[in-house]
C-alpha cells in the first residue's frame, strides 16, 4: 500500500516533469467569469416553479397554518405514522387523531421502512435549480430518515433559507457535514433516456414554503 502510494506519486511527478508548475498550486489563478447567480428577484416564486417542474408538490403556509396543512398532506396519502428528526419545532406537528409521530433518533432502516412519512426542515434551498439541501442540522436528522420512508415533507423557511444559485448555496454549507441535495422526488432516465419519477428514494416529495408572519 505504501509502495503504491510512492509509485503513483512518483509517476505523477515524472509525468509532469516537462510541465511548468507554479508553486504553490493555488497561486495559479482560475478565471471565474461565470455568474454568481442568474436571478436576484422573485426567488421564492422561482423556487416554487422549479420544484414543481421536477414533480415536487409545492405548498405555501404560515407557521400557524402549518400543522393543518401537514395533517392534510398526510391524510391525503392515508399516512398513519410520521417520523420526525430531533430539533423539529413542536409547533409544526399536526395533532390529528390516529396519527403517530415518532422521533427518529434510534430507528433502524427496517423500522423506518414501516413508516409512512417523514417531516423535516432544511439547511438551504436553491431557487434556480429547485433544490433543497439537508445537512443533518436541527430539524433535519440523519440522512437515512429522509431516504427510507416513501413520503418526504420538507419545510423551507422563506425568504431566509432561499438562495438564488448553486454558488450561493455552497457558501452557506459546511462540507464537513454530510449533505443531501434533493431536486424533486427520486427519478430515473434509464429506460429509453426518458425521465420517470419514483425509484428508491421517496416517491412523493411535498415542499412547504413557510411564509413569515404577515407575508413575505
Amino acid at each position: 500500500m505504501t509502495d503504491s502510494r510512492a509509485r503513483i506519486l512518483g509517476r505523477i511527478r515524472t509525468a509532469l516533469a516537462g510541465t511548468e508548475r507554479t508553486t504553490p498550486a493555488p497561486a495559479e489563478p482560475i478565471a471565474r467569469d461565470y455568474r454568481d447567480s442568474h436571478t436576484d428577484t422573485g426567488l421564492v416564486e422561482l423556487l416554487a416553479h422549479n420544484l414543481a417542474d421536477y414533480r415536487a408538490r409545492v405548498h405555501h403556509a404560515t407557521e400557524t397554518d402549518l400543522p393543518d396543512l401537514i395533517a392534510r398532506l398526510l391524510g391525503s396519502r392515508g399516512a398513519h405514522t410520521l417520523v420526525v428528526p430531533p430539533g423539529l419545532p413542536d409547533g409544526w406537528l399536526p395533532t390529528a387523531a390516529g396519527l403517530r409521530a415518532v422521533r427518529g433518533t434510534d430507528l433502524s432502516a427496517a423500522e423506518l421502512d414501516a413508516m409512512s412519512s417523514v417531516l423535516t426542515g432544511c439547511a438551504v434551498a436553491v431557487a434556480e435549480t429547485g433544490t433543497i439541501v439537508l445537512d443533518g442540522g436541527p430539524g433535519q436528522g440523519r440522512r437515512m430518515l429522509t431516504l427510507v420512508p416513501d413520503h418526504h415533507i420538507c419545510v423551507v423557511r422563506t425568504p431566509d433559507q432561499v438562495v438564488a444559485s448553486v454558488p450561493q448555496a455552497l457558501r452557506r454549507l459546511d462540507p464537513r457535514r454530510p449533505q443531501t441535495w434533493i431536486s424533486g422526488p427520486s427519478a430515473t432516465s434509464d429506460i429509453e433516456l426518458d425521465r420517470v419519477e419514483g425509484v428508491h428514494g421517496p416517491r412523493a416529495l411535498d415542499v412547504v414554503l413557510l411564509v413569515p408572519p404577515g407575508g413575505a
Partner: protein, 479 residues
C-alpha cells in the same frame, strides 16, 4: 484497465453488425435524440455556459498540473475526518484491496452504486471469484446484470435495450437474484421502476457493505460527492456499516467552492436537468449518521501515463457526463458495444486506447471511430478537444508496425503534393486511368471497394481546373 474482451473484433467489424440491427438502431436513435434536445435546452438556460465551461476546464487543468499535491492534501483530509485511504496502482491491486476490505467485514454481499471506475477494473468479477456477490443497484446496471449483458453507455448502460426487452429481462431473471418481478408486469417504465424498487429494497435494508465511486473528491476538505437520480446511491452510501469508494485519481478538485462550477456543468450535460434528483456529499465518517467505516481507494490504472502525454492529458478532465455519446452520430449507429470497453462513444475512443494502449485490433481502430465532426467537442462541458486527441492518437497508431500499404500510399501522395509538377502529373494519370475504366464499383478489397460498396465514384471530368485555367490564361482574352 481490464483487458480487451475476448475475441473482440475491430470497431468497423463490430459496428457493421450494429448497423444491421434495426431494433438496436431504433433504440439508440430514440434515446440519444430525446436527450440531445433536452440537453441543449438545459444548457441554453444559462447565459454564462461558456464561462462555466472555461472555468471547469481551467480548474481541471490546474488540478492535473498539481495532481500530486492535491492527492496528498485529499488523503490527509480524509484521514483527519476518520476515513482510511488506500492507493491502487492498477486494476488488480484495487480489486485486491476491495476484496480484502469486504472479507475483513465477514460479509459475502455488497450493494453497489453505479461506478465507472469499478466497471473499468472489473471489480464485480474479482469479488465473485472471492465468493462475494456484488449487487448492482442502479436501474440500468441492474438491467445489464440481470441480462448478463455488457454496458453500452456511460450514463445509461442499458441504453441499447427498449422497454419491452427490459420487461422480459426482469420477468425472466429477477427471481434468480432475489425478489421476482410482479406477475403481469407491463413494459410501462413506471411499472419497471417499481419492480426494481421492490427487488432492491430488500437488498438495501440488509446490506452491511456498500461500494461506490465518486464524481468528485474535494482535496481541501476530503469530501466525496456522488451525483445520482434514483436514490440507490443514497441507499448504498447511507445504510451500510462499511463504505468503500473506488475513485480515479483524476476525480480530485481543489476546493469546496470548485463544486459550484461542476454541479452546474454536470447535471445539465448529463441528464439534461437543472439539477439531478440527489447529490450526496460526505467527509470521512459522521457519528450517528451513515457508515461507521469509510475506505477511499485511489486508483491510477493508466491515468498517470495519460497525464504524461501533453495532448492526451485533457482526457483526464472528463467528468463522465456522456453528452459526447448522446450527440455522436457514430455512436448512434454503432452502439456502445462496438467500442469494446466500458467507456464507449467519443470519450471512449480517446480514453480506452490511452488506458489500454493500441496493441489490440479494437484499440488500434478506436481513434478512427470518428468522422471528426466535432459535435462531441461542442457539447463537452470541460472542453476536451476530442477530435484533436483522436488525431494525436492516430499518429501513434500509424507509427506502429503494420499500416504498410496505407503509409506508403500516403507518403507517395505527400511526395507528389510537395511539388506542383508531380501533383499535376499524378492528377493527369489518375484522371486518365479512371476515365478509361469508368468504374462504378471496384471489386478489389481495400479503400476502393469500401467506397464503391455503397457509393458511385464521381465522374472524372475531361479537364482539371488547372488545365482549364492555363488554357484560359494563355488564350489572352479571346476565345
Amino acid at each position: 484497465m481490464s483487458a480487451v474482451p475476448l475475441g473482440m473484433p475491430s470497431f468497423p467489424d463490430a459496428a457493421r453488425e450494429a448497423t444491421r440491427n434495426p431494433t438496436l438502431r431504433r433504440n439508440l436513435r430514440h434515446a440519444t435524440h430525446t436527450i440531445r434536445d433536452r440537453r441543449a435546452a438545459a444548457v441554453a438556460e444559462l447565459d454564462d455556459w461558456a464561462e462555466l465551461r472555461a472555468a471547469g476546464a481551467a480548474i481541471k487543468d490546474r488540478t492535473l498540473r498539481h495532481l500530486d499535491t492535491y492527492l496528498e492534501q485529499a488523503e490527509a483530509a480524509v484521514v483527519a475526518a476518520g476515513g482510511h485511504v488506500h492507493w491502487a496502482a492498477d486494476a488488480a491491486e484495487a480489486n485486491r484491496i476491495v476484496t480484502d476490505l469486504v472479507r475483513a467485514t465477514g460479509e459475502t454481499e455488497v450493494v453497489k452504486v453505479k461506478s465507472m471506475a469499478t466497471q473499468e477494473i472489473g471489480l464485480n468479477e474479482a469479488l465473485a471469484e472471492a465468493g462475494i456477490t456484488a449487487y448492482e443497484t442502479d436501474l440500468a446496471e441492474l438491467i445489464v446484470q440481470l441480462g448478463d449483458d455488457r454496458p453500452s453507455h456511460i450514463l445509461v448502460p442499458a441504453i441499447h435495450r427498449n422497454r419491452t426487452e427490459i420487461r422480459d429481462i426482469f420477468r425472466d431473471a429477477m427471481g434468480e437474484w432475489g425478489i421476482p418481478a410482479p406477475d403481469g408486469m407491463s413494459d410501462d417504465p413506471r411499472e419497471l421502476a417499481e419492480a426494481a424498487r421492490l427487488h432492491l429494497r430488500e437488498k438495501f435494508l440488509r446490506a452491511k457493505v456498500g461500494v461506490s465511486g465518486a464524481n468528485f473528491l474535494v482535496a481541501e476538505t476530503g469530501t466525496l460527492v456522488v451525483v445520482e437520480s434514483e436514490g440507490n446511491g443514497r441507499m448504498c452510501l447511507t445504510l451500510p456499516e462499511t463504505l468503500i469508494s473506488v475513485v480515479g485519481i483524476e476525480k480530485v478538485v481543489p476546493t469546496w467552492r470548485d463544486l459550484e462550477v461542476f454541479l452546474q456543468l454536470l447535471p445539465r450535460s448529463s441528464t439534461a436537468e437543472r439539477m439531478n434528483p440527489y447529490t450526496s456529499t460526505w467527509t470521512g465518517v459522521t457519528d450517528g449518521d451513515g457508515p461507521r467505516a469509510f475506505h477511499l481507494v485511489l486508483l491510477d490504472n493508466g491515468r498517470t501515463s495519460i497525464l504524461a502525454d501533453e495532448v492526451g492529458r485533457q482526457t483526464l478532465r472528463c467528468i463522465r457526463c456522456s453528452a459526447c455519446l448522446n450527440v455522436c452520430p457514430v455512436y448512434e449507429r454503432a452502439g456502445g458495444h462496438a467500442y469494446g470497453s466500458v467507456y464507449p462513444g467519443p470519450i471512449g475512443a480517446i480514453l480506452t486506447p490511452q488506458l489500454r494502449g493500441t496493441g489490440s485490433a479494437v484499440d488500434a481502430s478506436l481513434p478512427y471511430a470518428s468522422t471528426l465532426c466535432g459535435a462531441c467537442y461542442d457539447v463537452c462541458p470541460v472542453a476536451i478537444d476530442i477530435p484533436e486527441v483522436l488525431v494525436h492518437l492516430r499518429e501513434k497508431v500509424t507509427a506502429q508496425r503494420g499500416h504498410v500499404i496505407e503509409r506508403s500510399a500516403l507518403r507517395a501522395a505527400a511526395w507528389a503534393m510537395r511539388d506542383p509538377k508531380r501533383y499535376t502529373a499524378l492528377q493527369r494519370a489518375a484522371a486518365a486511368g479512371t476515365r478509361a475504366l469508368h468504374p462504378r464499383r471496384l471489386p478489389l478489397p481495400g479503400w476502393g471497394k469500401a467506397w464503391t460498396d455503397t457509393r458511385d465514384l464521381p465522374a472524372v471530368p475531361k479537364e482539371s481546373f488547372r488545365t482549364w485555367w492555363q488554357r484560359r490564361d494563355t488564350s489572352g482574352g479571346t476565345k
